[in-house]
């Protein structure tokens, strides 16, 4: 007859009794589970929300770059008699295009884009009133009638542009191709009219590029009903003169066309010179990562099917950088998730180790009770089920509390990350307990003969070695995977939603769980190596102390040697401190990267841009700023983006042309943390073959030693340049040609300074006070904006929170490990007291037992953290968050690291007296009697 298998039968009074007796350790485990589930449950949805914010932020920052433009030529207006036909219903053609493209964009784009504005714009004309270079553009705007139409204006003088007299007389008139300038009526804003000094009825003196006169008359002067209206955004010159749009020193103005004057404007220019454009601006508030993915796909399709703008009959041409902006945001989100995953993996690893340690503490406390239960006849399945019921109840209650709070903090709690912690908490206690109960009453005895004992020892060592080797192999594999593949998902993680899904679901990064675990596994492997070394170290310390005359050193070292092989406390302490160090280093490196990036972007503490090209005024302004309190140095210069430089093989490149006083600029660099540019000294000496310049090129198109030419507009002769050295990255530009102002002036091109850089604590204030219409850029503001960007701010907050949690887990490892070993320690100390050890000396011996592992963790933990930060921060792609061209240099935060390292020894200094005070309540006889048990 086969034996009957009965299901486990828990003994409920035992379950209750054990739980009440060990309420402390159980509550501790519950607290760890609750905190970690809170973190693991809240971080993914917070990240997902941050990802949505990041997408919105990216689109907001991209500004007009994120607009979707649809260009289409107007229909040809060739008439039957060899001339051009006036098209009185031309505005309807524009409306048709707007309606058509609204139909073409998909529902995702429609949901995220604002109602479109259709426009027709003329070529840029020159105002020929003899003043400084001013330009004017005629623009017709037609917003979507469903969004209120517009733009809305109030005519403060005159009235809206109407048809020309000829057009009104014969709306369908055919005019010869080479006839006189066709008259057009336009409206002007008050500011533009004032700038031009014209009134209704006046003709604006204009010529086109071919120097042909244009007959443009002012019908009225308007005031915008709402200057913030979307329609105005891409054409601000319709509202006020805008400097710099058409090159340094120019000012653009705008003239508004109406539905009635649009047909005349068409005839005033060549057929191909007027173009219909429909502009959609994204509404950042409506964007989510999910929507961003659909939009990216949609835009890519539309661009693929896009026609040529020169084609009158083909499909319209789609033009936007929205897909690139969203793809970049997706890459940033993927990087942010990956970095967060690494931090979370570290917290989870440390938490699991702490839970194993807490289970070990429980089992040590319960060892005698479990053995007694076995001797009374309790089966292992019964005991196991009792322990499982207890751990499941405690863990699930704690996890539920953690998730509940996580849900309140961040709706949409994720479960995935918490699973390992919950499993460890449920299984560790019953596993260890059942094993202890089995060993307590098992038949396994220490073999009598030495070879059998040696065999047992080797088997145990082999088992431990295999486990350690497995961790080591996993750590190496993770590290190799991380360094080879990087943390980003294949393809760079450009899909925002794809990047968001894994973390939001709490299932790690799409780049792979293994690479994300590299720092945690690496630190764990390092801790295992330390665990191997510690017994040798404590043995050595014991041997040295035996030669000393200090008895306390001997007893302390003896206790340390006896307990140095205990794995879990050391693993928790080392892992906690190392990963806290890693998190702090990540945060500090990102912070420094942000600061460096801000320096690189501004080039000084503050900068004034887009000054009027008046060299004398700018120089005076620079002197005024330089004299302001708190300003160390102010330097004026000319910065022109998109200069035309013919490099090797007459390839035209468009670098940033920077014209400065080389000596002053070098002095300026010396007052900043920006790298020095020693080659600036070479600009003073004449160079063979041209004006000496320094060059910097992202793609190597310009190199020192090359002969180049600076091309000029208006048929002026090109200026030969000789590249004599490497240029610094001025204000973050990758392609730079830097030339000394005096040398360029000597070559025939006077400097028109438009930029002032200033350094010193008062620079931002001084620059802002002297802005007077120019753009003041403050390094502090740039830094603040980048630091407050959703992903960056989120990651920095997470890194700091993780560092705190990890440090606390490391301290918890010390406290729980000390609690687990306390009975044995104080029994030994009590025995030593029977030999004459004084109570206060017992505390020193206790500290001597705990300190070696603590000091090892305090030293090795931060070192391991720094090592793995050094090995892994590169592949973590922090540059994507800091806005730097290369990965930021590792920055160890020494003071916080000192605090992390000192926390453990300080905790020992608190723990030992506290433990001693608790133990002194028990009489020595009680301790010794308990020990007999």
């Amino acid at each position: 007859m086969s034996p009957r298998i009965r299901p486990p039968a828990p003994h409920w009074p035992s379950v209750r009794g054990r739980a009440l007796a060990d309420a402390g350790p159980l509550l501790l485990a519950a607290a760890v589970v609750a905190v970690v589930t809170l973190l693991a449950g809240a971080v993914p949805p917070l990240l997902a929300a941050t990802a949505d914010d990041a997408v919105r932020d990216a689109v907001r920052r991209a500004g007009e770059d994120a607009d979707v433009l649809v260009h289409a030529e107007l229909q040809r207006d060739d008439g039957p008699y060899g001339g051009r036909l006036r098209t009185p219903r031309l505005a309807e053609e524009v409306d048709d295009l707007r309606e058509r493209v609204v139909d073409e964009i998909g529902p995702a784009m429609r949901a995220a884009l604002r109602p479109p504005v259709a426009s027709v714009s003329s070529p840029v004309l020159r105002v020929t009133d003899g003043s400084v270079l001013r330009t004017l553009q005629l623009v017709y705007l037609a917003a979507d009638p469903r969004a209120g139409g517009g733009p809305r204006v109030t005519w403060v003088a005159g009235g809206p542009p109407g048809p020309s007299a000829a057009g009104a007389a014969d709306p369908d008139r055919e005019v010869p191709y080479d006839g006189p300038p066709w008259p057009v009526q336009v409206g002007l804003s008050e500011a533009d009219a004032a700038a031009l000094g014209v009134r209704p009825g006046d003709r604006i003196p204009l010529k086109d590029e071919e120097k042909r006169d244009k007959d443009v008359r002012v019908s009225g002067i308007f005031r915008a009903a709402d200057v913030a209206e979307q329609a105005w955004r891409p054409v601000p010159w319709l509202l006020r003169p805008v400097p710099g749009v058409d090159g340094t020193g120019t000012t653009r103005l705008g003239a508004l066309l109406s539905r009635d004057s649009l047909p005349d404007a068409r005839l005033a220019f060549e057929q191909q010179d007027t173009q219909r454009t429909v502009r959609f601006s994204p509404d950042p508030g409506r964007l989510t990562t999910g929507l961003a993915t659909s939009i990216t796909a949609n835009v890519v399709n539309l661009k693929a099917e896009s026609g040529s703008s020169g084609d009158f009959t083909g499909p319209p041409r789609w033009q936007t950088r929205l897909d690139a902006v969203l793809r970049d945001a997706g890459t940033q989100i993927a990087a942010g998730y990956a970095q967060a995953s690494v931090l979370l993996a570290g917290v989870l690893a440390a938490a699991v180790l702490v839970l194993l340690l807490a289970a070990d503490l429980l089992v040590r406390r319960r060892g005698p009770a479990l053995a007694a239960a076995r001797r009374r006849g309790a089966g292992l399945p019964d005991l196991g089920s009792e322990l499982l019921l207890e751990s499941t109840a405690v863990t699930l209650a704690a996890a539920a509390a953690g998730f509940l709070v996580a849900g309140l903090v961040a709706p949409g709690v994720a479960w995935g990350w918490a699973v390992p912690v919950v499993l460890a908490a449920v299984a560790a206690g019953p596993g260890f307990g059942t094993l202890a109960a089995a060993r307590a009453t098992g038949d396994r005895r220490v073999p009598a003969n030495r070879s059998a004992r040696r065999w047992n020892l080797r088997t145990a060592q082999l088992r431990r070695g295999a486990l350690e080797a497995a961790v080591l192999v996993a750590a190496v594999a993770a590290l190799v995977a991380l360094r080879q593949r990087g943390i980003l998902p294949p393809g760079g993680g450009g899909d925002p939603a794809a990047a968001a899904v894994p973390a939001a679901a709490g299932s790690g990064t799409d780049g792979g769980t293994l690479p994300a675990s590299a720092p945690a596994l690496g630190v764990l492997a390092g801790a295992l190596v330390l665990l191997r070394l510690l017994p040798a170290g404590t043995g050595l310390a014991l041997r040295r102390s035996l030669r000393s005359r200090r008895p306390l050193a001997v007893f302390g070292a003896a206790r340390a040697a006896a307990t140095s092989a205990r794995a879990l406390p050391l693993l928790v302490m080392v892992t906690g401190t190392a990963l806290a160090t890693f998190a702090l280093t990540l945060a500090a490196t990102a912070e420094r990267g942000l600061a460096d990036g801000a320096w690189r972007t501004v080039g000084a503490d503050a900068r004034l841009d887009a000054l009027r090209a008046d060299a004398a005024a700018t120089a005076a302004l620079a002197r005024r700023i330089g004299a302001a309190p708190g300003v160390r140095l102010a330097v004026a210069g000319q910065v022109t983006d998109g200069a035309r430089v013919a490099a090797a093989g007459s390839v035209i490149v468009s670098p940033r042309l920077v014209v400065v006083d080389a000596a002053a600029y070098r002095e300026l660099l010396a007052t900043t943390p920006l790298p020095d540019a020693p080659d600036l000294a070479r600009l003073g000496a004449p160079a063979a073959g041209g004006v000496p310049v320094l060059v910097r090129s992202g793609d190597g198109g310009m190199r020192p030693g090359m002969r180049m030419e600076l091309r000029r507009d208006g048929g002026a002769p090109a200026i030969p340049l000789a590249a004599v050295g490497d240029a610094p990255a001025v204000d973050g530009a990758d392609d730079v040609v830097l030339v000394d102002a005096a040398a360029l002036a000597a070559a025939g091109l006077p400097v028109a300074a438009n930029t002032v850089w200033a350094t010193g604590p008062g620079a931002a204030r001084a620059v802002a006070a002297n802005a007077a219409g120019a753009d003041a850029v403050s390094r502090e503001n740039v830094l603040r904006a980048r630091r407050d960007a959703p992903l960056t701010a989120g990651l920095l907050r997470l890194a700091r929170a993780a560092a705190v949690v990890l440090s606390l887990l490391g301290l918890l490892g010390l406290v729980v490990g000390a609690a687990a070993s306390a009975p044995e320690r104080w029994r030994t100390l009590t025995r030593l007291r029977t030999l004459g050890l004084r109570p206060r000396d017992a505390r020193w011996v206790a500290a001597g037992e705990l300190l070696p592992a603590v000091l090892a963790a305090a030293v090795a933990g931060p070192l391991l953290g720094l090592l793995f930060a050094r090995l892994t921060l590169g592949p973590l792609a922090l540059r994507l968050l800091t806005g730097q061209p290369a990965d930021p240099v590792l920055v160890p935060p020494w003071w916080p690291l000192a605090v992390v390292a000192a926390a453990l020894p300080v905790a020992v200094a608190v723990l030992v007296p506290a433990e001693s005070a608790l133990r002194r309540r028990r009489r020595m006889s009680e301790v010794l009697r308990a020990g007999e048990g």
Partner: protein, 234 residues
């Protein structure tokens, strides 16, 4: 601590009471216990489990304090000593042997024996000489470098006895020293104790159940339910 050996009894116990717990759960471990021990004798303390043997040993050795009564050891009133005084008493006059040996596992037998001498800050050369003598006395001269885990139970108890004798105590208190040993080993340990009492002139107070062990004592003190139940020669 009043110093100096006194003439007369080495140990003088007078009217010692010791109770545990309160109210209905009160346990009277010792009730009005009084006796004297003569120097250089081996005294067996006999009684059933729970009779108060260990409590009496702890009170005499200063590991526990009586609720009433006095204990004097070698002229020192143990019950009036503070923690430092008790530590000095244990370092200089009273030593213990426990049922579970109480050795430090990572130290060799010689280092375990030398532990009290380190606490007494004895110079290294003198300490080593004394340790050698003691290990020879307990028959473990050849096991000096072995650790407790490499020794049998009987050998470990011998090391514990050597350690107890290291500081040349006046009183050696042994609580069930053979409790974890087989009969033959236990007997040899008791014989060893008997021998050191004679050779070192120490007074030994040994609690035991074993009649064979009792036979080796100079005197037997019986205790029952916390009260003395007679004193007699074995």
């Amino acid at each position: 601590m009043s110093a100096g050996p006194a003439a007369g009894p080495l140990v003088s116990v007078r009217g010692v009471h010791r109770t545990y717990g309160t109210g209905a759960a009160t346990v009277h471990a010792l009730r009005d216990v009084s006796f004297d021990l003569t120097p250089g004798t081996m005294v067996a303390l006999v009684g059933r489990s729970g009779s108060g043997k260990t409590t009496l040993l702890n009170v005499i050795g200063g590991l526990d304090r009586p609720d009433a009564g006095t204990v004097r050891v070698d002229g020192v009133e143990v019950t009036a000593l503070d923690e430092d005084g008790l530590a000095r008493l244990r370092r200089e006059r009273v030593s213990y042997v426990f049922q579970t040996f109480g050795l430090i596992p990572v130290l060799s037998a010689a280092e375990n024996v030398g532990a009290p001498l380190r606490l007494a800050r004895m110079p290294a050369a003198e300490r080593e000489r004394r340790v050698g003598l003691l290990l020879e006395l307990v028959g473990l001269a050849g096991h000096a470098e072995q650790r407790p885990g490499e020794l049998s139970g009987g050998q470990q108890q011998r090391v514990a006895i050597a350690r107890a004798l290291a500081a040349s105590p006046r009183l050696l208190i042994a609580d069930e020293p053979t409790g974890q040993l087989d009969a033959e080993t236990g007997l040899s340990v008791m014989a060893l104790l008997r021998g050191v009492v004679e050779s070192e002139g120490v007074t030994a107070l040994v609690s035991t159940h074993d009649p064979t062990m009792i036979a080796l004592a100079d005197r037997v003190i019986r205790i029952r339910d916390g009260r003395l139940d007679g004193q007699e020669a074995p």
